[in-house]
């Protein structure tokens, strides 16, 4: 059982040795830096123990950017390996590990935290609430996600990476064909992060249902709140399936059960069935909040209210329902018979209809608008054509009969990168440019942002467009090399060069953050974009209690109306009352650590140690049950001071009246 000690650290590969050294140096650097600046106490009391939704959101986003870097490095390594035929840069095993971690990290540890982070920052502000429904649970969600992400990330230096693809299909992912512990990391780390995500989903559903400010009925909610709500509903409906699937995988791998192993009567494709029962809704969990982001940005920078609000809501509801009944299109080639494949072809193609409705609504929102070409708007504009390429090829793949041709080729890989990158990554960039001032009190530089935009968009198309043609020519995915005679070389080279441009775009983004932190103008108002929704009706960066006086709403684009009618922008001394706030807590962080440690032991199949760590988890739950902390109140004077400080600024539309 378990692992031999000499296999604990992965040795013998110069790339991994380099990473190990880099990781150690980085950690030493961080510890030394924090100690030198005497920031430990600040880190603990302001960030690690925080239950403030805005700070938790920012921590999600920082983790997402870090994971984007890690996943991007994996992608670049893959592109380098396939840039020339018969390259010997990576061996087959290393390539397997890298495409596996690339997929898992980009979907679960980059896209998810980015979007959940943005939801955290924006949704409570948009609905005029002071926090989420369960602030401490929110912190727990983050630390569980973070614990899972860190556990997954150490796999490539300690014990070995999972190497069966991000889908980890059986029988390959079973103990028989993957005897190492790499795939244990997959089963355990994703489980921990998944529990965190499920809790987030519950938190946001309750928050949006119960904590909207006065007058904001469901059909007056901003579109991003709507899409976040529906995405949370899908999280609750889909993530338990993944929880079970991963648990069954763990039983198969660790305890010799026969769910997916062929011996003992198990069914390998049952794993595929469960994985995609979760996996397809997961795609919509990602893309729906992104649709909401585009809706907000296009409406703001077209100076128009969103076109076809009701049809937008209806189409996300239809997408949410249909997303649950299309999963088989990921494995038509299993051969489940014509009836199954036909039904799932129809449901799959039907999803294109509500998605098309949304595209037209965005176009009509821009029609006759006074469009302002900010960076956020540029990303939203680039999204439309790129995403349509992804959508149309999706309909091609959705036809069961035709799929036999495309299945497992680079055509498929190009398709889903054309949906996920414009559908999620562009949206995340758009959202960061748009809401950055709300989070930090300064805007990102627009000029450097242009570099970021053009490099990234051109690089993205140059990387993935050739893969459509490679796929149609028969190049399979997940193959670490190809022959000279295949004739694939030129397009693979174009794709590799494209990925370099893409990476330069990301570097420009990082530089933009650095530059803006150092040089950007701090004297901005609460509303730098002349925007329409409630998150702009308060200070930038937002004060801990969000709103001194909860706003009242009687329609869409409430802040726009407030500005037009000059109503509700002022605050008077008599309107300020003390505000109840939840206390910070170290428990979520400790629970995240306990889960991470227990998970680590479980990965290595050290069951006694894992059980001891699990007792720590139960102790944490019991402690929480007996915790009767009632929070604290911010006194009136403090609120008065904070409010007058940001409201009495030149150019601010909000006013402070004594």
């Amino acid at each position: 059982m378990g692992i031999k000690w000499d296999e604990f650290f992965i040795t013998g590969d110069p790339l991994i040795l380099g990473s190990q050294i880099a990781i150690v140096l980085t950690m030493v650097g961080i510890v030394a830096g924090v100690t030198y600046l005497k920031k430990w106490k600040w880190l603990w009391s302001e960030w690690i123990t925080t239950v403030d939704h805005k700070r938790i959101g920012i921590m999600y986003i920082i983790s997402g950017v870090l994971m984007f870097f890690r996943g991007g490095m994996d992608g670049l390594l893959m592109k380098a390996q396939t840039s020339r035929p018969e390259m010997e840069f990576l061996d087959a095993q290393h390539y397997n590990e890298i495409f596996t971690t690339h997929g898992v990290i980009m979907i679960l540890f980059m896209a998810m935290p980015m979007l959940i982070g943005i939801m955290n920052v924006v949704v409570p502000l948009q609905i005029g609430a002071r926090d989420v429904a369960f602030p401490q649970l929110n912190a727990l969600s983050f630390w569980l996600f973070f614990g899972g992400a860190m556990l997954f990330n150490i796999s490539f230096v300690i014990g070995g990476s999972p190497d069966a693809g991000w889908t980890s299909y059986f029988p390959l992912a079973g103990k028989e064909f993957s005897p190492g512990i790499g795939n244990n990391y997959y089963a355990v780390a994703l489980q921990i992060a998944g529990i965190g995500t499920l809790l987030s989903g519950i938190n946001f559903v309750v928050t949006i249902l119960k904590m909207r400010t006065k007058g904001m009925t469901l059909m007056k909610m901003p579109m991003f709140t709507w899409t976040s709500f529906i995405a949370s509903v899908i999280i609750i409906a889909a993530f338990p399936i993944f929880t079970v699937a991963l648990a069954l995988m763990t039983f198969d791998r660790l305890y010799g059960a026969h769910f997916f192993t062929l011996s003992g009567g198990g069914l390998d494709m049952l794993w595929a069935n469960l994985f995609w029962l979760w996996g397809h809704p997961e795609v919509y969990i990602l893309v729906l909040p992104a649709f909401g982001i585009y809706s907000e940005i296009i409406s703001t920078f077209s100076r128009k209210t969103l076109f076809g609000y009701k049809s937008m809501v209806l189409s996300i509801l239809i997408i949410a329902l249909l997303s649950m009944v299309v999963w088989v299109h990921h494995f038509y080639t299993m051969g489940s018979g014509p009836a199954v494949n036909s039904i799932f072809s129809i449901t799959t193609m039907a999803i294109a209809v509500p998605t098309g409705i949304k595209i037209f609504n965005w176009l009509f929102t821009m029609r006759k608008g006074r469009i302002k070409m900010t960076n956020a708007m540029l990303w939203s504009l680039a999204f439309v054509p790129c995403f349509i390429i992804g959508g149309v090829t999706g309909v091609m793949l959705g036809m069961g009969a035709a799929d036999y041709q495309y299945h497992n080729t680079l055509f498929l890989v190009a398709h889903f990168h054309y949906t996920i990158i414009p559908g999620v990554v562009f949206a995340v960039f758009a959202a960061l440019y748009y809401w950055w001032p709300k989070m930090f009190g300064f805007t990102l530089n627009e000029k450097i942002g242009r570099w970021h935009f053009w490099l990234f968009v051109i690089g993205f198309n140059a990387t993935f467009m050739p893969m459509f043609f490679l796929g149609l020519d028969g190049a399979v995915r997940r193959s670490y090399t190809y022959s000279v005679e295949s004739g694939f070389a030129p397009l693979f080279l174009v794709s590799a060069l494209g990925s370099v441009i893409l990476a330069l775009g990301f570097i420009a983004f990082c530089y933009n953050i650095y530059w803006s932190i150092r040089h950007a103008d701090r004297n901005i108002t609460g509303d730098p974009w002349n925007a329409r929704t409630l998150e702009w009706a308060t200070a930038s960066p937002v004060q801990p209690y969000n709103f001194a006086k909860l706003p009242e709403v009687d329609g869409l684009d409430p802040f726009w109306k407030m500005k037009k009618n000059n109503q509700g922008l002022t605050i008077k001394d008599s309107e300020i009352k003390e505000i109840h706030m939840p206390s910070n807590s170290g428990l979520p962080f400790i629970m995240g650590v306990a889960f991470g440690v227990a998970g680590f032991f479980l990965v290595f199949e050290w069951h006694i140690a894992a059980a001891i760590a699990a007792i720590g988890i139960i102790a944490g739950l019991i402690y929480r049950s007996f915790d009767y902390d009632e929070g604290y109140h911010i006194p009136v004077d403090e609120i008065k001071e904070t409010e007058s400080k940001w409201r009495n600024v030149e150019g601010e539309v909000h006013n402070y009246v004594k």
Binding site: K210, I236, A245, A257, H258, G266, P582, S625
Partner: protein, 201 residues
């Protein structure tokens, strides 16, 4: 997060945070439905894959299962009475019926563990066949929920003894009540689609 108290409502609904928690728990139960449905689906796919090992008729002790069922049904009823007593502000009655519920739950758990031991003695383990893997994990997940529920309810009883009936303790009691009834709902489906179905064909 207002701490306003609405005295016209039962204790557990009196504060806004309580109402949030109760709704949140209902939504969590929605997730639990999906979780158990997935286990039932897996069982439904694998339930005839005996791989040469024992079948349903070889191992199921239907009399014991009926006793287990009655124990859990009765415990769900006594939990209902406990909440009824809570709404009448009867702390003693509440705790009495909670303890009865836990004893019945512990009895159920004792019989389930015996059942598992019996299976293993017959050579039916999780490693034997796909059918048994899915059986053990479905039953085991339910049993683990019952175990967790018992520990949780003990914590709540301690808090009731220490603090009496307040909006907070009432909310906690109400939520464990919901959880307990839900476990009974799951058991009804296990009883029907695992045991009875297994005995029929």
């Amino acid at each position: 997060m207002s701490s306003k108290i609405d005295y016209s409502l039962p204790l557990e609904y009196q504060t806004e945070q309580n109402r949030l928690n109760i709704l949140g728990f209902w939504i969590f139960l929605g997730a639990e439905i999906v979780l158990f449905a997935t286990l039932f689906g897996v069982y439904g796919v694998l339930y005839q894959r005996y791989a040469g090992g024992p079948t349903h008729q070889d191992i199921i002790m239907i009399k014991d299962v009926l006793i287990q069922t009655v124990l859990l049904l009765t415990s769900s009823f006594t939990m209902g009475i406990a909440i009824f007593e809570m709404r009448r502000q009867q702390l003693k009655g509440l705790i009495f019926w909670l303890v009865i519920t836990l004893l019945l739950g512990a009895g159920f758990l004792f019989m389930e563990i015996n059942e598992f031991i019996h299976y293993v003695h017959l050579g039916a383990t999780m490693q034997t066949s796909a059918f048994l893997s899915s059986l053990f994990v479905l039953l085991g997940t339910h049993g683990a929920h019952v175990t967790f529920g018992i520990i949780w309810a003990i914590m709540v009883i301690i808090q009731l003894l220490r603090r009496g009936l307040t909006p907070t303790t009432a909310r906690k009691t109400f939520i464990i009540g919901l959880y307990w009834h839900f476990l009974d709902v799951v058991w009804i489906f296990i009883f029907t689609f695992v045991y009875l179905k297994g005995m029929v064909g």
